[in-house]
Symmetry: C2
Subunit: 222 residues, 2 copies
């Protein structure tokens, strides 16, 4: 392992962040993972995050508990929308959008990376087969990187942070194929926005996009 | 009161944020306050924040509890530096710097403002008589405003957030005089980084800068 290279991975326990973690493991760096317990409905994610962090041999894994406000179907008493199939997902920002979520997560990541004295922050955002959240787009990632480099001790002292989003331009099928190749156990990842008794609903945007990806990759999702 | 105008104030319970709150009250808007309990040594701030939110008639006040990492003398087992007088404060980023603190606070504020459906976020940062933290400078505030307007639903739908920092270019004396004029009770604000039994230490950067301000304003700090 390259002792000099370290990375911090935002690991939700979902499919995308787990594939991102598998990419880091392939590159043989020292991996630190961080996960947020923010009152999400899909708490099963947290157990999967722990499982994957262990499986991919992370040097450390910390779950941060944070108080969030409501305002999203993922955290509040608002129904998660269901659609018959992926082509019927409306083309706007859905009610599952959590205001400010990725800004908050990446801000914590920047501070924690500074604390751990590392520069590379990995995040599994992508904006091809996604739910239309504005904080998953490449423009956001770029400006956020600039922001943290202006507002942290490390950044202004010249050791620049990089936000690495290896899945940014990939579609779900491509992400799944990379994960498969890297030995990801998909049965230990959760995508559903509204699972019941650990079972996915099959009808939320995230379930539909995941199903489309597995269909196109000609793989079973289990 | 102008029912249409609302603002969210980041209220720590310190001198600067309390003066910022008094400025909002003068402008007669509907005020929502938010405070963070992040494991700071100077927890007395939280009680003062509650007291000031009530005194200045905030419509709501919420304290967010967040898990932070260590790495700062404000949250960790690192000694808070003491100096004999204000001219001896070294000209570098001190160990009281909390990695990523203002990025995290402002990210939460952006998400919470979106939840409350308001656009103006007030913060008491200033960069004249300050401890040299990079996340208090005007360049940071400007780029952060741009960032949240690109990464939130409200921002990309055209209702732009503004981060208002009315104290940005003021020195401590000017800040204190505005507060005095607005009826701030300074005895219910805390600046000290390392108080013992609710008593300020008198020797940390924050105590020295506060003392300098009161001396120059010809006022007693009580």
């Amino acid at each position: 392992m390259d002792k000099e290279k370290k990375g911090l991975v935002l690991l939700s326990g979902g499919l995308d962040s787990t594939v991102t973690l598998s990419i880091c493991r392939k590159s043989n760096i020292e991996i630190h993972a961080m996960t947020f317990d923010y009152g999400q409905r899909h708490k099963i994610e947290l157990d999967f995050a722990k499982w994957q962090a262990k499986k991919f041999n992370c040097k450390s894994h910390k779950i941060f508990k944070i108080d969030l406000y409501g305002g999203s179907a993922l955290t509040d008493q608002i129904d998660v929308p269901k659609n018959e199939n992926v082509d019927l997902i409306p083309n706007n920002i859905p009610v599952t959008y959590v205001p400010g979520r990725n800004i908050i997560f990446l801000s914590f990541a920047a501070g924690y990376a500074e604390y751990l004295d590392l520069e590379d922050i990995y995040i599994g955002v992508n904006s091809v087969d996604y739910s239309g959240y504005p904080d998953c787009r490449e423009e956001f990632i770029k400006i956020f990187e600039k922001t943290i480099n202006m507002s942290t001790k490390k950044g202004i002292e010249g050791k620049k942070f990089r936000i690495v989003a290896p899945l940014q331009k990939l579609d779900k099928k491509e992400i799944i194929l990379i994960g498969k190749n890297n030995g990801v156990d998909f049965s230990k990842t959760s995508s559903c926005y509204n699972p019941t008794n650990m079972k996915k609903c099959g009808l939320c945007d995230a379930c539909l996009l995941r199903k489309k990806g597995f269909d196109e990759a000609n793989l079973d999702d289990n």
